[in-house]
């Protein structure tokens, strides 16, 4: 018998007991549906986390003033002193393997527009800040070195600020007032969502460092900054850069050998790695749960095929009397199992598609099905058909024609 013929026979056999076939198939539908959907959800969570990590900046160090454990009696937490300066930032800029250095000063303000007012965080930054974060605007533009030099009163605002201050109006070219000083809005940042710590990255305003320092955020110590971001050229140079910048700052701060740092260097790649690890773990976990249901479906197939072989012993005997050899019988039952699995797989993929649409609609996750996930689940379903169909088929093929014909 050729393949078409065997498949037709399998379809006919499946039609013989529609309820049983559909219940068996249901196991595979649920299994494949679960695998495809779980993988899709896991994948979208991973993509979401990766995007958040990328928006945080990659290969990044953040240097805070103060140290977590300082000797000499007084213990000051990070950020508790104002001993980091723009001069430190400039010094770090000259280190090897460093791409960008961005000092940041920040303070919360009540900000007004012609329409409304909003309490938000105002950051004084240099253009390198946007380079590190790899941020861009959704409308308007960012400021550059020229605005820094000319101490321009321009502002780039986050999406949340734009919504809260201007509603549906286009903020570009509008004026906002910070500390009663007018700033022209020149850009609105693209939507970022919340960062890994959960705070809304879109709820912030960025103005040139020079303007901020002179007119808005008066520091107690001249030139001090809240923190400095340093981006290494690559993940491989992270360790070197960390050592270099620590040494540079210790020298600049005149710290003796036996004293601890008066600053804290935080390495964001560790956080990023942990988050990526969690995402991978989550995908694996979800995939494993889906796979278990697929396995259960496969065992269901095996069960039903065994019953079917017993029930159809006489049919097998007749077929053997008419000239079916072992291979014919084996392939007949194997094909039946595979056809059930492949049909179940196809329906399962369709169900998973509807499921991902539902999840995308009712949750903030944007779930898309990956082709690889579909192919994987489909191949897995077919493999399950072969694996769990083989033993019953083997049993059918091993029947003795005489005994099979005598079976009532």
């Amino acid at each position: 018998m050729n393949f078409t013929q065997i498949s037709l026979e399998a379809l006919r056999a499946m039609g013989m007991n529609k309820l049983r076939t559909s219940l068996t198939m249901l196991g595979i539908i649920i299994g494949v549906g679960a695998v495809v959907m779980m993988l899709a959800i896991g994948e979208s969570v991973r993509a979401d986390i990766n995007q958040r990590i990328a928006s945080m900046g990659s290969n990044l160090f953040i240097i805070f003033p103060g140290s977590q454990t300082s000797s000499g009696g007084v213990r000051v937490g990070r950020g508790g002193m104002q001993n980091l300066t723009e001069g430190d930032a400039l010094a770090l800029q000259n280190l090897e393997n460093v791409d960008y250095v961005a000092p940041v000063i920040q303070r919360g303000f009540q900000v007004q527009s012609g329409f409304s007012n909003w309490n938000t965080m105002v950051y004084g930054v240099t253009p390198d800040f946007f380079a590190i974060k790899a941020w861009d605007t959704s409308s308007g533009s960012l400021f550059g070195d020229m605005e820094i030099r000319s101490i321009s009163r321009v502002a780039v605002i986050g999406q949340s600020v734009a919504t809260n201050l201007f509603g549906d109006f286009d903020p570009i070219g509008q004026t906002i007032r910070i500390q009663n000083r007018p700033f022209e809005v020149i850009g609105v940042l693209a939507d970022k969502g919340s960062d890994l710590g959960g705070s809304d990255q879109d709820d912030s305003i960025y103005i040139p460092m020079s303007t901020a320092r002179q007119q808005v955020i008066r520091q107690w110590f001249p030139g001090s900054v809240n923190y400095i971001m340093v981006q290494a050229q690559s993940a491989r140079t992270m360790a070197d850069v960390k050592y270099d910048l620590t040494q540079t700052l210790r020298v600049r701060h005149r710290i003796r050998e036996d004293q601890e740092d008066d600053f804290t260097v935080r390495d964001l790649s560790a956080i990023a790695e942990a988050a990526a690890g969690i995402a991978t773990g989550l995908t694996l976990l979800l995939g494993a749960i889906g796979s278990i249901s697929l396995l259960v479906g496969g065992i269901g197939i095996m069960n039903i095929m065994l019953v079917s072989v017993t029930e159809r012993t006489r049919e097998i005997g007749i077929r053997m009397a008419l000239g079916a050899n072992r291979r014919d019988v084996l392939l007949q039952f194997l094909t039946e199992a595979v056809v059930i699995c492949v049909c179940g797989g196809a329906i399962g993929v369709a169900v998973a598609y509807l499921g991902t649409l539902a999840v995308s609609n009712f949750s903030p996750l944007k779930v898309g099905m990956s082709t690889s996930g579909i192919v994987l689940a489909f191949g897995f379903a077919a493999a399950i058909g072969v694996f769990f169909g083989f033993y019953p088929a083997k049993r059918a093929a091993g029947l003795k024609p005489v005994e099979a014909l005598r079976y009532e």
Binding site: M1, N2, T4, Q5, E315, A321, L322, G323, V402
Partner: protein
Amino acid sequence: MAVAAAALPAHSPLLRLKGVRKSYVTGDIETPVLKGIDLEIGRGEFVAIMGQSGSGKSTLMNILGCLDTPTSGEYSLDGQEVSTLSDDDLARVRNRTIGFVFQGFNLLKRMPLIDNVGLPLLYAGQDRAHARSRAQRRLEQTGLGPFAFRLPNQISGGQQQRVAIARALVNDPPLILADEPTGNLDTQTSVEIMNLFTELNQSQGITMLLVTHEPDVARYAKRLVRLKDGLVTYDGPVKDAHL
């Protein structure tokens, strides 16, 4: 019969059994069922095999039909020694050489008649279209052409047995093996079926081997082989036997 036999080599019997024994082993006990059968059946013969239950006629039938192999002894069918063949080779011999007709018809229930009849052709490796056209022709010869796409349970018992005969003939085998072919049929239908066998034997020279316990059915044959306790107790013309 004489006409058909004359056309074929005289010294080449279709099947020959020599000292065929078959015993079944259950636990430590060996039960001999066939105790040394010698039998030769020529091409174009019409032979009835009779015997009471327990005489070994079913076992002999299974061995003749290549559904089972003897414990010892030789069995050559159509010039080929089959007692030592593998399961798959036996399947091929059954497919090419033997047409089976069973008491219970043994049609596949959910399959249209035309596909039931064509099934041996599919196992012989032919394609579906070809199998169907040949099956259709066979069905028409047995007068069931219009019913080709019905299912077995939609026609009468006599018609089902005709379909089974059409299926047995579809691959043009030299031998038809009929096991109690009229056991499930009424007298009128039995006569029709036996007449069909007689006609196939006489006009097409197909060798007929009939296993039955009904003397009325055995009378259609020319030769009778009677079994008792695993041995042949009579082998001769039907008309000389005490039925």
